[in-house]
């Protein structure tokens, strides 16, 4: 294993010596490559970086990063990562999870890591299927998903990761897709820069068990009409000619798609993205085909103090309030009495 020396780092500096073993064509390769390209630009040190994962295809990720890594147990990565961060808040901690790991067996931990605002970058690879156990439907699978456990199609409604995260109180919520590297790298950077829990849903194709799960937004011929990349302060427009936009409905609460210049719709009516607006983020998080584009980019970013910062500040507060820790004094706190050697009973 090569020692990490404090020289200029490259993508290679973050590649471990382990052979990557995802299926050919798996979206995870692109997600890994984008991160290995991003980290050198962020100026982070491998020895100061920790990847914590659960169980599933995506959770093999730490083995391929030349950083500290902990491949834990199914669904529990956010809890382990919280412990790492409480132990050493100076570490950069990334959580790698999937739709099954993070939203089914580990849904509870994800919820609480988000609401506590632990300073973690949580990358949720969403392929809407269980890959490692060979093709069962997942909690994000669409209604009617066929698989070995649902030969007649699934009958339970999917959970949507971003509305879930916003509902849990996440302060940073973003969506990306495996096929588009540059924005993915930008989102990684934004997630890294945010001090707090950053939830990034990455749509990821599983070519073996759920191939084409995202063709309705990812396919080249529909991408521009089905992907809206939100940019803070910019109008929410999309389409090949960037002539389609989102505006508030006139007839109730919600968002509708309009074509600028059609029916007297002007650019002024198009919503401008404000990533600090929770209401807007919630509306955007729910959008998707066939009625509307799916919204990508940073949907919500509204930082707040982190859990570990506040928790460790309380340790400091206790030091100020109670003074230097004195174990002997602690053992003698309250009532004590002395029995002397020659005391007559």
């Amino acid at each position: 294993m090569a020692p990490d020396t404090p020289t200029a780092l490259t993508r290679k500096s973050f590649m471990s010596d382990q052979e990557v073993r995802w299926c050919p064509g798996c979206g995870d390769y692109a997600i890994l490559a984008a991160l290995q390209r991003t980290l050198p630009k962020l100026g982070v040190r491998p020895e100061n970086t920790v990847f914590v994962s659960g169980i599933g295809c995506s959770s093999r990720f730490p083995y391929y990063m030349n950083t500290y890594g902990f491949h834990t147990i199914h669904g529990r990565a956010p809890a382990v990562a919280t412990g790492v961060k409480l132990a050493n808040p100076d570490l950069d901690v990334w959580v790698i999870t999937g739709d099954g790991d993070g939203l089914s067996i580990g849904g509870n931990h994800l919820l609480h890591a988000l609401r506590r605002n632990v300073d973690l970058q949580i990358l949720l690879f969403n392929n809407r299927v269980y890959g490692l156990t060979k093709g069962q439907y997942s909690p994000t699978s669409l209604l009617g998903q066929h698989g070995p456990s649902t030969p007649l199609g699934s009958v339970d409604y999917p959970v949507h990761p971003l509305p879930f995260a916003l509902g849990a109180g996440a302060r940073f919520v973003a969506r990306a897709i495996d096929t588009v590297q540059k924005p993915l790298m930008e989102i990684y950077e934004r997630a890294y820069r945010n001090k707090g829990a950053s939830l990034v849903e990455i749509l990821q194709n599983c070519p073996v068990f759920n191939d084409g799960a995202f063709t309705d937004v990812a396919a080249k011929d529909v991408a521009s009409d089905r992907q809206l990349w939100a940019v803070h302060g910019q109008p929410l427009v999309f389409g090949k000619n960037r002539d389609k936009g989102l505006r508030m409905r006139r007839d109730g609460c919600g968002i509708e798609v309009v074509t600028i210049g059609e029916g007297g719709v002007s650019m002024d009516e198009v919503l401008v993205h404000d990533e600090t607006n929770l209401g807007l983020a919630s509306l955007l998080a729910h959008l998707g085909p066939p009625d509307a584009p799916m919204v990508f980019g940073v949907l919500y970013c509204n930082p707040a103090p982190t859990y570990e910062h506040q928790a460790l500040a309380q340790n400091e507060l206790a030091r100020q309030r109670y003074g230097e820790a004195d174990l002997d004094a602690l053992l003698r706190s309250g009532h004590t009495w002395t029995v002397s050697g020659n005391e007559d009973g």
Binding site: G69, H71, A79, L86, A87, N315, W337
Partner: protein
């Protein structure tokens, strides 16, 4: 007329039980009685016994809360089998506890609570104060409710708040009866109710009134005040301590002795919650307490903290251990230190949360998937929780392994005088974070202990990955090699076995190291077993008491020691767990003695069993 009843009769030991509604403040009164009794120089043991419901319906038998204290002029090993004095604050308390009394016991009854409605709620068809059912006992009938109302009248409390002072009135009477100083309790009230002066003063008035009542009222013949001389304890500074306090402080001491900060992941559960509470007050000791979303997150956070170089600890009870099982397996696989404190309670499932049991031994030893050995230690007394918490951490850090500390609801909540140890005399715990990149891989082992290295994130040159997948012995990388898995499984087992090199040899608590009968116990039954063995020996029985605090690995000499006895009797508060392990480990003809009642052993039960065993032999 002289006052012969005012002369104090000397007793060598007394067992007092306070019983009332769960809202009657019996636990508070019991704690105060414990404090003043300790300060008076008696040795003591206590047994709080309360329902799981915070406020069960008033007046019902299932809402009865009890607190028993045994104090003496000699060393006290148990809270006592049968009360000499019962304070019954209502009919339900009388009904629940009467069966435990020997004829001649003193019963102090609050007649004010013996209303028709309360009698009915307790299931009495006739008033036991009138139908002769108390004839075998000495009975002191006092309308404590009315006396209390009169005592606190000047404070103009509502009758509800006024009546809540009656526990302190009863306490005052007991203080008179056993020659106790009121000052420590008055000081406690000053502190407790500093912000509610009216409540403070009312309780003080009730306490003093109860005391004055004893001094002035002419008592029925046969009822008199007592004196229990000071106990002869080894010299030193003492305090009262409960097992859970001792566990919390022991963990803090372990962190101090190892030079590590501690991260506690914990989820509220009876009877373990107050370890979390105690530690939450000690943040200035470098203790980060984290109340997690569930039991699994609690252990996972501790494991994450341990990965990052802290002392990771999780505290819980049996159902919590069940939830943590998979994560404990992870800590075994990645070989990280972890202390798991299991304060056992009656199971299975939710069982009886406030009642004690020793039924998690097999869960701690074997309750995981795969061959997943851990070290297991158990505390014998409330004070011993302090030492065994340190031991648990010492073993965890030495072998880079999870270690279970088993205590139980009985010693967790029970209090006993504790000789305060000198921290400077406890050997430090050696911890070394790996630093050298040359030849590094994460599963490099110490050839002596077989512990792997502890390289913590933030160390340049040591970036590495660990996980629950099997690792190659020589590189730490993922491996599915058949021979390697065999080897790694053996190494994980051997690593735990080698902890026997640093645990004390098994001693004999009482009696010879050979003979007809060894009574072998573990954990919180120490006091009852030792008292029974001592008493049987005093009657000439050839019996010894061996008490285990190290359950995995066992002390090296245990097998040889057991083989020097003809018979082995293993009393446990479970359906026979240690006895199974001893039989399988040492092929000895050990027999179990089980009690699965949610209650500790009575000394008399053990005496009977021991004598019966010896008779069979004769």
């Amino acid at each position: 007329m002289d006052y012969p009843s005012r002369e104090r009769k000397t007793l060598d030991q007394v067992v007092v039980r306070l019983a009332g509604d769960s809202g009657d403040g019996m636990q508070k009164a019991g704690e105060q009685f414990t404090l003043t009794t300790a300060l008076a120089g008696n040795d003591l043991a206590t047994f709080p016994d309360f329902p799981a419901e915070i406020r069960a319906p008033a007046g019902t038998t299932f809402g009865v809360s009890g607190f028993q204290i045994h104090f003496a002029d000699h060393d006290v090993l148990t809270p006592g089998d049968r009360p000499d004095v019962l304070v019954a604050m209502n009919p339900a308390a009388l009904k629940v506890n009467l069966g435990d009394l020997e004829p001649g016991a003193l019963v102090i009854v609050n007649t004010g609570a013996f209303t028709k409605a309360n009698l009915r709620k307790a299931g009495y068809e006739a008033n036991p104060l009138e139908d002769g059912s108390l004839d075998p006992f000495r009975v002191l009938e006092i309308d404590i409710s009315k006396q209390t109302l009169a005592a606190v009248e000047p404070f103009e409390l509502g009758s509800r708040d006024a009546l809540r002072c009656k526990n302190f009135w009863a306490l005052g009477l007991l203080y008179w009866m056993f020659d106790r100083d009121l000052a420590p309790t008055l000081a406690w009230l000053d502190e407790k109710f500093a912000k509610r002066p009216v409540i403070r003063d009312a309780n003080k008035a009730a306490l003093k009134a109860g005391h004055a009542y004893g001094e002035t009222v002419e008592l029925p013949s046969g009822i008199e005040p007592y004196r229990v001389p000071r106990a002869k304890l080894p010299p030193g500074e003492y305090r009262n301590i409960t097992g859970n306090e001792a566990t919390a402080w022991g963990l803090v001491a372990a962190a101090r002795l190892s030079g590590l900060e501690m991260v506690l992941g914990s989820y509220p559960i009876t009877p373990a919650s107050n370890v979390l509470h105690y530690l939450a007050k000690l943040r200035h000791f470098g203790v980060t307490t984290f109340q997690t979303e569930d039991e699994i997150a609690a252990v996972c956070a501790a494991i994450g903290a341990s990965f990052a170089g802290k002392l990771g600890v999780t505290t819980t009870s049996g159902p919590g251990v069940a939830l943590k099982t998979e994560a404990i397996g992870l800590a075994i696989a990645v070989e990280l230190p972890l202390v798991i404190v299991d304060i056992q309670r009656a199971g299975p499932s939710t069982g009886m949360p406030t009642k004690t049991e020793q039924s998690d031994l097999l869960q701690a030893m074997y309750g995981r998937n795969g061959d997943a050995p851990v070290a297991v230690v158990a505390a014998a007394t409330p004070g011993d929780c302090f030492h065994m918490a340190i031991e648990a951490a010492r073993l965890a850090l030495r072998a880079m392994t999870p270690v279970f500390l088993l205590t139980d609801g009985y010693i967790a909540n029970g209090a006993a005088p504790w000789k305060i140890p000198d921290i400077a005399e406890i050997p430090p715990i050696e911890v070394k974070f790996h630093q050298a990149p040359e030849g590094f891989h994460p599963f490099l082992r110490d050839p002596k202990t077989l512990a792997r290295v502890w390289p913590i994130p933030g160390t340049p040159g040591l970036a590495h990955r660990i996980g629950g997948l099997e690792k190659d012995y020589d590189s730490g990388n993922i491996s599915y090699d058949p021979a390697n898995h065999h080897r790694m499984t053996k190494v994980r087992a051997e690593k735990i076995a080698r902890l026997a090199d640093v645990i004390p040899e098994q001693d004999v608590a009482t009696g010879e190291d050979h003979g007809k009968l060894a009574v072998v116990g573990w954990g919180g039954t120490f006091g009852a077993i030792d008292a029974a063995v001592r008493s049987c020996r005093a009657r000439g029985a050839a019996v010894s008491h061996i008490h285990l605090r190290y359950l995995n690995p066992f002390p090296k000499n245990l097998g040889a020691l057991l083989s020097r006895f003809d018979r082995i009797l293993v009393p446990e508060l479970n359906n026979g767990q240690l006895v199974k392990i001893l039989r399988s480990e040492f092929l000895v003809p050990a027999r179990g003695l089980d009690k699965i009642a949610g209650q500790p052993f009575k000394v008399s039960e053990l005496e009977d069993a021991i004598l019966q065993h010896l008779e069979q032999d004769a």
